[in-house]
């Protein structure tokens, strides 16, 4: 197979986007999904053989000249190395499945074709990002994904909350993107290239690395990490992701759980050599990831919206990945990225199925759904177990790898925090499971029914993935995945530790057990605990008050500054220029004079000064000829005296 076929992978969904956006509403209507799914599947079909070729040790690259920069030119192209192959594998499969699901979920929506157009555009962007061979193309795809995210979060834009959420999402991630952009500029200044393989080449060897100023590298690494913080919803830019749940659920699954948010982690993985070149940046990454993992898990404990719980869970898990990368655990982080994509997508789709079946999102209104929606419930529980880290599901292996990395690299604090978070993860997931699927139905108005096959089928496919995908990274396959990635970027590997594994399992099991005890048997305990730890409970419920802080200290001051500057512009700058140098003392007068004249229709803005002079000079013209003569005479005298140098 010609590797250049890989260009088709993003291009096919892009075609679907173009066709859907132009013709969808009028001609395709409900057939719009067919086109998107077909192109996505075709992309999958093209991509998978290439992925497997890479898994077997292949390596593909190709490029063409795109943008002339400086003396040289930026070349665009693809780079299929182990890292991108893994993601390509995941994205094509998960993407296709989710679209199949969505074709059922979104049925009957008036903007059906628009939805699939956006999703196809997103697929195109995500796939471009995955296969891109340089940061510019990466960034472009990255931003277009942000756009799709924006469009899809705001898909139900008639809802005020959705309109606000999409704005917030775009702007918050944009903050990180600006950092990313600056990081790229710095990198380009330092290395003169943005091409991944060239960067690798420049930084892989000590001698070449020494030639590059370290300060620039530190800057570029940290600024690029801003991009990750934004996109992967890490603290302090995580606030957009929970709100992003305003979008349709398949979108939450695809973009805000499986793929796009993982792109931030992928960015760190892509820039891994840079971080490796300046290891002093790593602790920052670890710290932010670790804190995020803990904080989000803690918040998830008290949330009641099914999608929000999952959203915080996503944030938390992304925190795990980032932490792993921060501890040089490229393999662990990426591994978790892949497995997480499957089970988290599954969780969201399951949640979507629940919502589709019950039309409510608050878990306090649910309960006892297991009977009514067995397919959904079983797959959902599988995914939850995977997320909680119960062996031998995929989540266990990847999470264990992260804990191992923390433990083995000597970050003991990190290790314990992550273990605690794992406990909380298991707890909140099973709180969710128990409250949703078990017990009695709490709200009599809810009439649940199982979703159609077009939706449950993808659930099962993903469930299979959630179960089996852990094995390539498990001791059973001799940590094939980690070694596979180490081909691309060398990084430290660790031997599995029984202690770590047992800690992980204990945390997971105890979490599930506690959840079972409280939410299956003694629901009132929950209230008692909340009362007992009121400050902590409030902190969790109010999401650490981050939104409030932003509102108070960032957004409102910005808007106020805008207004102040506008006022400044309208009065001072305009006034100063108009005043033609009369100085600030005159400003008030200038302004008054101004308004008056505008109102009078005399568009007179030569300045108060001119006007003033005019009134003075005008008065000289008294109409009395002898006055004129006297003035002329005195003027004449002045010139005589001056000319004769008498004074």
């Amino acid at each position: 197979m010609n590797p250049d076929m890989i260009y088709l992978v993003p291009l096919l969904p892009f075609t679907a986007f173009v066709v859907n956006i132009l013709l969808g509403a009028r001609f395709l209507k409900h057939r719009a999904s067919w086109l998107s799914i077909a192109t996505s599947a075709a992309a999958c079909a093209i991509a998978l053989p290439i992925c497997f070729a890479v898994f077997k040790g292949g390596h593909f690259a190709g490029e063409f000249s795109w943008l002339p920069v400086g003396g040289g030119t930026l070349r665009f192209g693809y780079l299929i190395d182990p890292l991108s192959a893994s993601l390509l594998f995941m994205v094509t499969i998960v993407g296709t499945l989710i679209q199949i699901y969505a074709s059922g979920y979104m049925a009957g929506d008036p903007r059906y074709s628009r939805f699939f157009a956006y999703v196809s555009l997103f697929m195109a962007a995500m796939l471009t990002l995955v296969i891109s061979n340089n940061f510019i193309l990466f960034f472009m795809a990255w931003e277009i994904m942000g756009l799709c995210s924006y469009l899809l979060i705001g898909f139900y834009f008639e809802r005020e909350s959705a309109a606000k959420a999409c704005f917030k999402a775009f702007l918050t991630t944009r903050v990180g993107d600006v950092g990313f952009l600056i990081g790229m500029l710095t990198l380009f200044t330092a290395l003169g290239t943005l091409n991944f393989s060239e960067i690798n080449g420049a930084l892989a060897h000590g001698s070449a690395r020494a030639a590059v100023p370290a300060s620039l590298l530190v800057m570029s690494a940290l600024f690029m990490f801003c991009g990750t913080v934004g996109k992967s919803a890490q603290f302090p830019l995580h606030v957009w992701l929970p709100d992003a749940m305003e979008g349709p659920t398949p979108v939450s699954a695809l973009i805000h759980a499986a793929t796009m948010v993982a792109a931030g982690v992928f960015l760190v993985a892509r820039a891994f050599v840079i971080f490796m070149a300046v290891p002093e940046t790593m602790p920052v990454v670890t710290a932010i990831g670790c804190f995020t993992a803990f904080m989000a898990a803690f918040i998830a404990l008290t949330q009641t919206d099914i999608k929000r719980i999952l959203a915080y869970s996503t944030i938390s898990q992304l925190g795990y990945m980032v932490t792993a990368l921060g501890m040089q655990g490229l393999g662990a982080g990426t591994f978790h990225l892949i497995t997480h994509a499957f089970f988290k997508a599954l969780l969201f789709l399951g949640a979507g199925s629940v919502i589709h079946g019950t039309h409510v999102q608050d878990i306090r209104q649910m309960g006892g759904l297991f009977r009514k929606m067995p397919h959904t419930a079983i797959t959902f529980i599988i995914a939850s177990l995977a997320l909680a880290g119960i062996p031998p599901l995929s989540g266990f292996w990847s999470k264990d790898e992260i804990l191992l990395t923390a433990f083995a690299s000597g970050n003991i604090v990190v290790f314990w925090v992550l273990t605690l978070s794992a406990f909380m993860t298991a707890f909140y997931m099973f709180r969710l499971v128990f409250m949703t699927f078990f017990g009695k139905a709490r709200d009599p108005h809810v009439h649940a029914h199982e979703s159609p096959a077009v939706m449950t089928l993808p659930l099962w496919c993903l469930a299979i993935g959630s179960v089996v995908l852990g094995f390539p990274g498990s001791p059973f396959m001799h940590h094939w995945f980690q070694r596979f990635l180490a081909h691309a970027v060398p990084h430290p590997e660790y031997h599995p530790s029984a202690f770590v594994m047992s800690c992980s399992v204990i945390a997971a099991v105890s979490g599930i057990a506690l959840a079972g005890i409280i939410y299956l048997k003694n629901v009132h305990w929950a209230e008692a605990v909340a009362k007992a730890f009121r400050p902590l409970y409030q902190l969790s419920l109010n999401k650490f008050y981050v939104d409030e802080i932003y509102s108070r200290f960032v957004i409102r001051p910005f808007l106020a500054l805008g207004r102040v500057l506008f006022h400044f512009d309208a009065t001072v700058i305009d006034g100063a220029v108009n005043g033609a140098g009369t100085g600030s003392m005159w400003l008030g007068a200038v302004k008054n004079w101004f308004d008056k004249n505008i109102v009078d229709g005399l568009v007179n803005f030569v300045g108060a000064f001119t006007c003033f002079l005019n009134s003075v000079v005008k008065r000289l013209q008294t109409g009395l000829v002898q006055n004129y003569l006297l003035i002329a005479f005195l003027g004449f005298l002045v010139f005589i005296i001056r000319e004769l140098k008498l004074i």
């Binding site: 920069v69 924006y150 705001g154």
Partner: protein, 493 residues
């Protein structure tokens, strides 16, 4: 024809204008058709020039030279190179779109169409001439010729405060250009032999003090046009009050005349002064970017928001110029082109909405996305282009500008990047207020865009996407000239 192609490009609109004078006032349809045909023919001639223009050459092409005022050595000297070529294309494109946009808009505004199109075509001649003239004297003449029709176009067909806006625009620009005239004359006398010929002037050297003084004189003329903070206050008024097609021309072409002046005249003529003023230019650029962005954020008037966004976006042009390196110049020139298409489009969109709703208050709208899906899509498209979404043209130029500037000053670049953030903020905030949310029942009857309105926007979108995806198509026309220019400046060290 091809031997005098540039003259034809410049004066075809004028011929059309005079043809209009012969048409009776009441023959509205013929007037419209003649105007449209004239702009279309001009655009076609530009297309012909496109086919004749050799992208890989740095020097002036299609040069026309004739003695005009022998007493001063003033020549009728037209020529095109990689700097003027994109601007000419932009002018032809924007004029055509604006003319199309005028067809309905001016009819709505109530008559006087003959005068309108006469002035419109006169304006086009002025703009073309400005970008093509290679003789400083001739350049100045075209530069001034632009002012007068603009005054009338704003003053007669503008909004409620049109008179104020028109005279403000006129006086600001005139004041600036008078100083430029002094500079031009000074250059003439400083050159030996005395000449206005750009092709000769660039080969001469002047003392630093002289360069500084004359650079400042030119700067006043150009900076007011761009407009550079703090000379920008005419812009919101003029843009807001002007009728839609004229706002489009103002933002699309007129602002570029200022930055074009920097590239064409200030930099090659006074390289030492340019370097001396480099920090000042950089600071002004960044102030403009951030300042314009913040003020745009505070606007409730749709058009004013777009107007202030121009201040911010033109800041990126200045930033690229201040960088004084290959990337910066490319970014600046490309941004000039892109800003023309993008902001031109945004103004057209504002006009579309205003023609229907007769208000521009952002807080008054809401939920139009459901009512006018095509409009919503296109508005979103242009907003995204404006906020620098990769894949659309705005990103490429801003990226290049920043890349260039980064090599000059990290701090300035980092601050400018805030402008990108602000752009996202004010544009999305606008979208949120106009398109998203609940539909204001007042607007329940608004029709979506019609074919004529679409036809004004689609060509712009084509350019935006094409350049965004594959910038080389236009950059390769610019690069040889810009590199040559850079060589000239560097040679002056």
């Amino acid at each position: 024809m091809t031997s005098h192609l540039l003259s034809w490009i410049t004066f075809t609109p004028l011929l059309g204008a005079f043809l209009l004078l012969c048409i009776p006032k009441r023959a509205h349809n013929s007037i419209r058709w003649i105007a449209l045909a004239t702009t279309a023919i001009t655009a076609a001639l530009v297309g012909l020039a496109f086919s004749l223009f050799r992208a890989s050459e740095a020097g002036f092409q299609l040069v026309e030279r004739a003695v005009w005022i022998p007493q001063f050595g003033v020549q009728y000297l037209l020529g095109m190179d990689g700097i003027s070529f994109p601007m000419v294309v932009l002018t032809a494109l924007i004029s055509l779109m604006a003319c199309l946009g005028s067809l309905t808009h001016i009819r709505v505004k109530g008559g006087r169409e003959k005068e309108y199109y006469f002035l419109f075509l006169l304006l086009e001649t002025g703009m073309m001439g400005t970008f093509l003239a290679l003789d400083l004297f001739l350049f100045y003449i075209f530069w001034e010729v632009v002012l007068v029709p603009m005054y009338f176009l704003i003053g007669i067909w503008g909004g409620p405060r049109k008179e104020y806006a028109a005279i403000k625009f006129f006086l600001y620009t005139l004041a600036g250009s008078l100083f430029m005239l002094i500079g031009i004359v000074a250059v003439y006398f400083a050159s030996s032999p005395h000449t206005f010929d750009m092709t000769l002037l660039t080969t001469m050297k002047y003392g630093l003090l002289f360069q500084k003084v004359v650079f400042l004189a030119f700067f006043l003329g150009f900076a007011i046009k761009v407009p550079v903070f703090p000379f920008h206050t005419w812009l919101p008024d003029a843009h807001v009050e002007a009728p839609t097609p004229i706002s489009v021309i103002l933002a699309g072409v007129l602002l570029k005349m200022g930055t074009y002046g920097f590239l064409r005249f200030s930099y090659p003529l006074f390289p030492d002064a340019a370097r001396w003023f480099q920090p000042a230019m950089g600071v002004l650029a960044v102030v403009g970017i951030i300042y314009g962005g913040f003020i745009a954020l505070a606007q409730t008037d749709f058009k004013k928001m777009v107007a202030y966004s121009s201040v911010s976006h033109m800041g990126f042009v200045l930033l690229g110029l201040a960088a004084m390196n290959a990337d910066g110049f490319r970014g600046a020139l490309l941004q000039m082109f892109n800003h023309g298409t993008i902001t031109g489009g945004l103004f057209l969109l504002v006009g579309v909405l205003y023609d229907r709703a007769h208000t521009r208050d952002l807080n008054d709208f809401g939920g139009l996305g459901a009512k006018m899906p095509v409009y919503a899509g296109i508005l979103t498209f242009f907003s995204l282009a404006s906020l620098g979404l990769p894949g659309l043209s705005g990103f490429i130029s801003e990226f290049l500008s920043l890349l260039g500037a980064y090599q000059y000053s990290k701090l300035i670049t980092a601050l400018s990047a805030i402008g990108i953030l602000l752009a996202a903020a004010y544009l999305l905030y606008m979208i949120q207020r106009v398109l998203l949310g609940k539909l204001n029942p007042k607007w329940a009857a608004l029709p979506d865009m019609n074919a004529l309105e679409l036809s004004t926007l689609v060509p712009l979108m084509v350019f935006i996407v094409a350049i965004g995806l594959y910038p080389k198509i236009i950059l390769e026309y610019m690069i040889p000239t810009l590199d040559g220019l850079l060589g000239t400046i560097r040679g002056g060290i």
